[in-house]
C-alpha cells in the first residue's frame, strides 16, 4: 500500500493491536486503561485483507507487556499484538485469555457482594471449557457480557 492511501501513519516505536473485532476498539481501550496522554490512533470498522471488518489500535511509545496484552483477549480474543521498534515488528503474538482477572471487571450480578462497597478487589476465573467464559470468584456467576463489565 502506498503512503498516500494510508489513513493512519506508521509508528516508529510502540504497539499495534490488530484484528480487533469490529467496533470493539473502545472496549479494548477501557480494558487496558491507558492514560489519555498517550498518542494513539484508532481505526474502527477498517477493511481486513482477510475479508470483513476489523478495528486497529496503535499506541506510540508504549510497549505492552504480555500480561497487559492478554487483557485484550477479554473483549477481542482473536486480536494480535505487534511490538514495533525502529519502524519494524520485533515481536508479534496473539492475546491469550488470562486465567484470572483481578480488579478490571465488575460482576454483572447486582446482588454480588463485590458490588456492595466492601474493601475487596473483584476476581474472575476463566472456565475450563472453550467458551471463553469468566466466573466471579465471589458469587460463582458467569459474566454475561464481558465488555459491559469492564470497570469505568
Amino acid at each position: 500500500m502506498s503512503q498516500k492511501y494510508m489513513k493512519v501513519e506508521k509508528i516508529d516505536h510502540g504497539t499495534v493491536i490488530d484484528h480487533i473485532l469490529p467496533a470493539k476498539a473502545f472496549d479494548v481501550l477501557r480494558v487496558l486503561g491507558l492514560s489519555d496522554d498517550k498518542s494513539m490512533s484508532i481505526l474502527v470498522n477498517s477493511h481486513s485483507k482477510k475479508g470483513g471488518k476489523k478495528d486497529i489500535l496503535k499506541f506510540e511509545d508504549v510497549e505492552l507487556s504480555a500480561e497487559e496484552a492478554n487483557l485484550v483477549a477479554l473483549v477481542s480474543p482473536q486480536a494480535t499484538i505487534n511490538i514495533i521498534v525502529g519502524g519494524k515488528v520485533v515481536r508479534k503474538f496473539n492475546a491469550e485469555a488470562p486465567k484470572v482477572v483481578r480488579g478490571i471487571l465488575t460482576c454483572s450480578n447486582p446482588n454480588c457482594i463485590s458490588n456492595q462497597n466492601e474493601p475487596i478487589t473483584t476476581e474472575f476465573t476463566l472456565g475450563s471449557d472453550e467458551g471463553h467464559r469468566y466466573v466471579c470468584s465471589y458469587c460463582e456467576r458467569e459474566v454475561v457480557d464481558l465488555a459491559k463489565c469492564v470497570s469505568s
Binding site: 446482588n111 457482594i113 463485590s114 466492601e118 475487596i120 465471589y138 458469587c139 460463582e140
Partner: protein
C-alpha cells in the same frame, strides 16, 4: 477442611467423611449421650437474614458439643445499621469466636468473610448463592433413609430457578451418579448451567411441568416452596401453586420405598395429611441439621 463455603469445594471423600462423622453424632444430637469436645470454644453466629432451622440447629449443635454461642439474628441492634462493612464485622467477630457461621443476603458474602476472618467460616446461605450445610444434611438424610447415595431416581419439584438448595443439591448428587428429574412451573425452570452440568455428566432424567409425570419412577421426591413474590399476578400464583400441591393421592402413586423431602419452610405445597405418611421425611431431615452441623463444627474448630 478449614472453611465450608460452597458445595463445589467439597470432594466426594470430604462429603462421605462429614456424613460418617454425623452418623456418630446422632445420639449426642438427641441428647441421649453427652460430649464436651468443644468445651471453652465459642461460635460466632451472625445472621443478617431470617432463619429458623439453620440458626437454631447450628446453635443446638454447638451447645450439644459443649461450646457456647455469641452473635445476632437481624441487624437492628448492631453496627451494621450504622453502615459497617461486612469485612469489618467479620474481622471483629473472628476476634471473639473460634468459628463464624454467616447468613447474608448477598451472594459471595461467605467467600468474602474467609478473606477477613482469622477463624473458620461456615456459610449458612448467601443470597441466592450457596447453602452447603443444607446440601450436606440433605445428602445425610438420603443416605440414612435409602442406604446409599448413588443409583437413585430423584425428582426436584417446585421453584428450581431461584431455589438455592436445589442448585447445590443437584451438583452434589451428580458427584455420586444418579438420575435427576426437574419438575417446575413454566418460568421457574432450573438454570441452564445446572441442566448443562447434569446432561454432561449423563445424569439428566426428564424435565416436565407436572409431578404426576415422574412420581411413579421416583425414589426421592424433593419438594421446594414456590415463592409467591415471583408472580406479579396473585391469581397466576394460586393456579400454579395448586398444580404443585403434594397430597396423599400423589404420594401413593410413587414406589413403596419413595421418600418425600422438603428443606422447609413449607407453605402449602405439601398438605398436612402427608405428614403422617411413612414417606414424609422432612421432619427427620430438619433434625438431621443438628448432627451434620455438629460434625462440621467439630471438624473445623476441633481440628479433627
Amino acid at each position: 477442611m478449614r472453611h465450608v463455603i460452597s458445595v463445589h469445594d467439597l470432594s466426594v471423600e470430604q462429603i462421605i467423611d462429614v456424613l460418617d462423622r454425623a452418623e456418630g453424632m446422632i445420639d449426642i444430637a438427641r441428647g441421649e449421650a453427652v460430649t464436651d469436645c468443644l468445651k471453652g470454644k465459642v461460635l460466632g453466629s451472625i445472621f443478617f437474614e431470617p432463619s429458623t432451622r439453620t440458626r437454631l440447629s447450628f446453635e443446638t449443635a454447638m451447645n450439644r458439643l459443649g461450646g457456647g454461642v455469641v452473635g445476632f439474628a437481624g441487624t437492628e441492634a448492631t453496627s451494621v445499621v450504622k453502615g459497617e462493612t461486612l469485612a469489618d464485622t467479620i474481622r471483629m467477630v473472628s476476634g471473639y469466636a473460634d468459628a463464624v457461621v454467616l447468613r447474608h443476603p448477598h451472594e459471595g458474602a461467605a467467600k468474602l468473610a474467609t478473606e477477613f476472618s482469622d477463624v473458620p467460616v461456615l456459610n449458612a446461605g448467601d443470597g441466592a448463592g450457596q447453602h452447603p450445610t443444607q446440601t450436606l444434611l440433605d445428602l445425610f438424610t438420603i443416605r440414612t433413609e435409602m442406604g446409599r447415595l448413588e443409583g437413585l431416581n430423584i425428582s426436584l419439584v417446585g421453584d428450581l430457578r431461584y431455589g438455592r438448595t436445589v442448585h447445590s443439591l443437584a451438583f452434589a448428587l451428580s458427584k455420586f451418579g444418579n438420575t435427576i428429574n426437574l419438575v417446575s412451573p413454566e418460568g421457574l425452570e432450573m438454570p441452564g448451567e445446572v441442566v448443562e452440568h447434569l446432561e454432561d455428566s449423563g445424569q439428566f432424567g426428564i424435565a416436565c411441568h407436572s409431578p404426576e409425570e415422574v412420581v411413579s419412577k421416583t425414589d426421592i421426591l424433593y419438594v421446594t416452596r414456590i415463592q409467591k413474590e415471583r408472580f406479579p399476578d396473585p391469581v397466576e400464583y394460586e393456579k400454579v401453586a395448586g398444580k404443585y400441591r403434594i397430597d396423599p393421592e400423589l404420594v401413593s402413586q410413587g414406589p413403596d420405598n419413595m421418600i418425600v423431602m422438603h428443606p422447609l419452610p413449607r407453605i402449602n405445597e405439601i398438605t398436612p395429611e402427608v405428614d403422617v405418611m411413612p414417606q414424609a421425611k422432612y421432619w427427620v431431615q430438619a433434625f438431621n441439621g443438628v448432627p451434620v452441623r455438629m460434625a462440621l463444627l467439630s471438624m473445623v474448630i476441633g481440628g479433627d
